[in-house]
């Protein structure tokens, strides 16, 4: 049975790593629903957050292949229940539409969004939330004409108390046999 998984990959920050990681998915014809990459809390360690729909069996095999890459430190997989995740969306509407009625302002309040910038021509609204929420706001705002819309990839933290990778790195330091 296919379900949504969020994969966190920690790697060295080397040129070409994104390609190394994504080919593991493309080779099995698995579509990446969302991908975010940036430096992690640990200096020098890069973090990828990838969302895919697939089966538990496939995700375990993918994880094995990802961890096999020399420059990958560790990969973890989570179901939606195991993480807190967010995406950020930006909406551009005509300022005229904002001023014509109080509908857009109401939506902004109702959805916990905020206005980032207002100019004579356009207004930019920002909302963070799950994809369904940012999509819902888009559908409602679009009635007044959204001229640009963009949504980021997912970012996520686990519900666990400790940072998984920090533990792992400490273990690496203590257990020299892992390195040899």
């Amino acid at each position: 049975m296919k379900q949504e998984f969020t994969i966190s990959i920690y790697s060295e920050n080397h040129v070409g790593l994104l390609n190394q990681v994504t080919t593991i998915f493309t080779r099995r014809h698995i579509n990446i629903e969302s991908l975010t990459t940036s430096e992690s809390a640990i200096p020098g360690v890069h973090k990828f957050t990838i969302v895919v729909f697939t089966s538990r069996d496939t995700i375990n095999k993918l994880l094995g292949q990802i961890e096999r890459r020399i420059d990958v430190l560790k990969a973890f997989v989570f179901t939606a229940e195991e993480i807190i995740h967010q995406e950020v969306a930006l909406y551009k509407v005509k300022t005229e539409a904002l001023l014509n009625s109080n509908e857009i302002e109401k939506l902004v309040r109702q959805y916990g969004a905020r206005i980032l910038e207002v100019t004579n021509e356009y207004t930019v609204i920002e909302k963070t939330g799950h994809k369904e929420e940012t999509q819902e706001l888009f559908d409602k705002l679009d009635r007044f004409g959204v001229t640009q819309f963009v949504r980021s990839g997912r970012i996520a933290v686990t519900k666990l108390n400790q940072e998984l990778l920090s533990n792992y790195l400490v273990k690496l330091d203590n257990d020299k046999s892992i390195l040899d």
């Binding site: 060295e12 070409g16 375990n60 020399i70 990958v72 892992i178 390195l179």
Partner: protein, 578 residues
Amino acid sequence: METKTQPKTQEANPMKKQRMNGSEAVIQSLLHEGVDLLFGYPGGAIMPVYDALYHYNDKLHHVLVRHEQGAIHAAQGYARVTGKVGVSFVTSGPGATNAVTGIADAMVDSTPLVVISGQVAAPLLGTDAFQETDVVGITQPITKWNYQVKRAEEIPEAIAKAFYIARTGRPGPVVLDITKDAQFGMLDFTYSKDVKIRSYKPSKPVKKDSVAEAVRLINLSKKPLALIGQGVILGGAENELKTFLEKTGIPAAWTLLGLSALPSDHPLNVGMLGMHGNYGPNVKTNESDLIIAIGMRFDDRVTGNVQKYATNAKVIHLEIDPAEINKIIFADVPVVGNVKESLPMITEMAAEKNHDEWVKEFRACDKIEDQKIIQPELYPAKEGLTMGEVVRRVTEVYNDDAILVTDVGQQQMMASRYFKFKNTRSVVTSGGLGTMGFGLPAALGAQLGQPERPVCCFVGDGGIQMTIQELGTIWQTKAPVKIILLNNNYLGMVRQWQELFFDRRYASTLLENPDFQTISKGYHIESSIVDDRSELDAAIKKMVEHDGPYLLEVKVEKEGNVFPMVPTGASVSDIRLE
């Protein structure tokens, strides 16, 4: 698993810094890694390295191949028989892309290689410069690791890392792409083999509880079957395997790449697994109650239909690469780690036993196979020469102690089935990738790696033509490779499938061949041709006694087939004897 460490050279003290350019640093680094032989082909972007090599000709012998694919296959042959890392130089662009097939072959067959490719100067990268290709991008999925070196100072560390990664853990090919300006750039050279990579764990320590669980299953099992893969050879665990089998009395079958890990005449050796393997181990896989997979990866040519594979068995999987566990076949007990460590741990705790009755069941299968297939193939009464009888005669003449190199196809399966072995690391064949054209250059590399041992290279008339130009390299090196060309004027394995599964529609498998005798003569290689059984023994004798490379062409029957056979999609126990 650490493949055999290369001997330390008496080079300059690594701690003492020497000023030199990047190209010389490449050569010095290779010397520090104990490299004394490499295969390659020069070109614009690697010329500075070749220029540096010129001054080290006495320490580092370079074999000039005729095509870069040959350089990689030769390095593979060398690595497989010696346990050392094979090394190749290729130039940028077409040099590197020609090497791709060999690199992919080494990746899937876990062969330790370091391939150094020249690259255009760093300022030209991405400009579609002459002979520029994205080598790192192209080779990324087919290398264990690859890296582009753009500064001379990076060279010693990158090479140390490349060798470390190539030979440790599950071995594999590494590509280092070195820009031309890095080859010219100056650096203060020091070399340290003490490589630490925090993101790379070559081998995990074996878990004691998984060993205990494996032992429990082994002690309970009535019908255990051990499957030997190349992991045994790569881990240097041949003796550990033998001790394990002899204490537990468990019969053992081998994969194509596990061949020669256990002597052919060992009483517990029950033959070859898979598509063209032996009848017994295939049929008995589905009767066995315990499969002990040792350093193998359940390739589809071994398992046939996985839904109908080992249906009555629990599975213990001893494997160094955690990604192989549960990849194809679910492991009830995974034992991750080098089999050289895990096997003795299991042997120590396992009960001393024999499974004579169970082994007899294999021997009963052998009788059926012998009567239906092996006797007619090895001692044919019909007119045409069979591939099997040629293989039998050659292995007998060498007293079952030659190195076998094969190409891909019918001759590969015949040779693997009927060649016999006393010693390990005696087979070089393209398993996972099935690369036609592999044989000839791989045989050259194997011979240069083991100059004292006879090397027999079985090739077909199709495969030899894919890398036939390496006859030139064989001649130039005078490597005394014995090439046995089994010529049936067909792409035999494809033709066999067309016969069996495509209603004899022989689409594009009939070859109009050149005169191989003339070609051999053109390359100054002694040769002869046989098409009659009465001449075979004398021809083989002449080949064996010839001092130097030799090509023996045998005109075999045109439409011979390799049996038994597990058809695609069928269960191993549905193996066909005809």
